[in-house]
């Protein structure tokens, strides 16, 4: 029997390298351990689950730092598992951000699961699996891994959104998240399928490897170039849903309001950063501009223009809708949409910069933005959670009236987080915006896009001014309104206090001494995923 030569060609040696996925493996093993402990431990030892999760996160962080050092010394494994996993600066920096988000979420959740008598083990193991999904999205060099990571993340998050099973709002939030999440995954998947077909050549079948996709487009050997546009458009819709860009943002406020506050904090910080990681990996590295290829120029122009429109819509709709919100969680949901718009500016800058070093800087800027957003957002939500009390009932703006001088520590901390979200100098949010906008205005940006990038920055700055109204509005409500009803300051448990101290320190540190972190994200300027 004849062996089909094309199938024979595919029998490559399996490039197994567990060291390159060590952080992911550690997190998954910790998640399984948490499930086992939860099943066998006595009810009184349930607090162990949080501890084991934290230990897993720390171990994964150590593995991540070790890989980081390796990547600097030249002993670099750039990809493993036949291109399925990439090891580069962008992946490691994003992994670092996800680990911070998870660690802070675990600290916040310890109180909450205890107070609401929810199954802590289930929550923590789901959180660990969601973290592993996010990490896979950042490390995938192939659309298969990105899709799998996205689904591992999404499925865990659907359950977490509906975690308060007897609360109708939590149920509704989970249902909406599930229906729209699965809907958007289907769009993403169809985009992947069309890209897979479009990259077929006369000699070989299609590919889902991002680097090979870029090669095929550059070589101009793809047989169905038209399908590529449809595929890219569908992938933009799919990712656009995940990172909540307008006009694909309608699910965000409902889901964020209904979900338990801890989960909302996690959803706004983690999955959004993971969405950006995968989105940038696919578009910046999969559809780059190659001047010698007509197809590449067309595809590149198409996706850049689409993202420019999305970024402007996202910033404007997010901020204007936040102005009229009466519920703090909803307001922060719209603010989270607006922040996705600011980060998109950095993403577009990475797309229109041809200089590889500058492109790396732009990507590092987006990662840094995601880190600052995660820190200030988690801090703000930790305080919202404390003020909401049991059952997450007190989240209206009225519930914050006049609490400023009754719980000064909490109110001042919340004010600092809000000022940082607004982007006041000496806070993390300011530096995040500066870094992103600076890469948009960098001289390395292609000439054709100079004006567009300037426009984006102008829109971003105007929107920052608009956002002052609602961020400062909440501060005014806290400090300068009289409260007529009885109100006692909530007790701050140790784990939440640790979260608050860490996030406050983070906001100030990133705001005053950002250089070290940005340099760490930028280091190793070789773009390994492009060199393959």
């Amino acid at each position: 029997m004849l062996i089909n030569p094309i199938f024979a060609l595919q029998a490559l040696p399996v490039d197994v390298n567990f060291a390159s996925i060590a952080p992911e493996l550690i997190v998954i093993i910790a998640g399984v351990l948490v499930m086992l402990v939860d099943a066998f431990a006595a009810p009184k030892q349930r607090w162990l689950t949080g501890g084991i999760s934290l230990a897993g996160i720390v171990a994964a962080g150590v593995a991540c730092v070790l890989m980081w050092n390796d990547a600097g010394t030249g002993g670099v494994v750039t990809s493993s598992f036949n291109g399925m996993i990439v090891v580069d600066q962008m992946r490691l920096s994003f992994t670092f951000v996800f680990l911070i988000v998870s660690a802070l979420t675990i600290l916040m959740s310890m109180l909450w699961v205890e107070r609401e008598a929810l199954p802590a083990g289930e929550f923590h193991s789901l959180l660990m699996f969601a973290t592993a999904g996010m990490m896979l999205m950042a490390s995938g060099g192939d659309l298969v891994i990105i899709f799998l990571g996205l689904e591992v993340l999404s499925i865990a998050t659907y359950v977490m959104a509906g975690f308060r099973r007897n609360d109708l709002r939590s149920n509704e939030s989970a249902l909406k998240y599930f229906i729209l999440g699965a809907f958007s995954s289907a769009f993403l998947l169809y985009g992947i399928a069309l890209t897979y077909g479009a990259t077929s050549t006369a000699l070989e079948g299609g590919t889902t490897n991002i680097a090979v996709i870029a090669d095929r487009i550059a070589a101009g050997t793809a047989i169905y170039p038209q399908l590529l546009f449809a595929g890219a458009a569908l992938m933009i819709i799919g990712f656009g849903f995940k990172i909540a860009t307008a006009p694909f943002h309608v699910w965000t406020p409902d889901v964020y309001e209904g979900a338990p506050t801890v989960v909302t904090a996690f959803m706004a910080a983690g999955p959004k950063a993971a969405g950006f990681a995968a989105f940038m990996r696919v578009f910046v590295f999969g559809f780059p501009l190659v001047a010698t290829s007509a197809l590449s120029i067309q595809v590149h122009a198409a996706w850049i223009n689409a993202l420019v429109v999305l970024a402007i819509l996202t910033m404007t709709i997010g901020n204007t809708a936040a102005l009229v919100q009466k519920n703090v969680k909803r307001m922060l949901a719209y603010s989270s949409i607006a922040h996705a718009g600011y980060a998109l500016v950095g993403f577009i800058a990475a797309g229109v910069t041809l200089d590889i070093t500058k492109q790396n800087d732009a990507i590092a800027g987006v990662v840094f933005y995601m880190l600052t957003y995660a820190v200030m957002n988690l801090g703000a939500f930790a305080i919202v959670m404390l003020i909401a009390r049991g059952g997450d009932r007190r989240t209206e703006l009225e519930d914050y009236t006049g609490i400023g001088f009754k719980a000064p520590a909490l109110a001042f901390a919340l004010s600092l987080f809000l000022l940082s979200l607004l982007g006041v100098p000496l806070t993390a949010g300011f530096i995040g915006k500066v870094v992103v906008f600076r890469s948009a205005l960098d001289p390395a940006v292609m000439n054709d896009y100079r004006n567009v990038m300037t426009l984006l920055v102008v829109v971003g700055v105007i929107n920052t001014a608009i956002s002052a109204y609602y961020y400062l509005g909440l501060i005014v409500v806290m400090f300068f309104r009289e409260r007529t009803t009885e109100w006692r300051a909530p007790r701050v448990p140790a784990s939440v206090a640790v979260t608050l101290i860490l996030t406050l320190a983070g906001v100030l540190y990133l705001g005053v001494f950002p250089g070290k972190v940005i340099d760490a994200f930028r280091r190793n300027a070789i773009n390994v995923s492009r060199l393959r």
Binding site: L148, A186, L189, G205
Partner: protein, 101 residues
Amino acid sequence: MTPQLSWYLALSAVMFTIGVAGVILKRNAISMFMCIELMLNSVNLTFVAFSSFFNNLNGQLFVFIVMAVAAAEAAVGLGIIIALFRNRESLDVDDANLLKL
């Protein structure tokens, strides 16, 4: 007449569109969920068509992964729908209006 690749692609595009229309128009959570499954299966058809016409296995492997993911999604999705039904006794998504859109 031998089957062409474009036939399969057209069929899967039509199926995908029916699924999208269903999710937008249907008001019952289970029906919406079934329409999403239809979308996923039309994607599978696209993958298999490309895979078979170009003698490349990647597409078939992707289909297995999509099936596994769809099964996991179904388990979680039905769980969420049951939890909602227990508390509300209705699957109409228009009744799920506690959180204003």
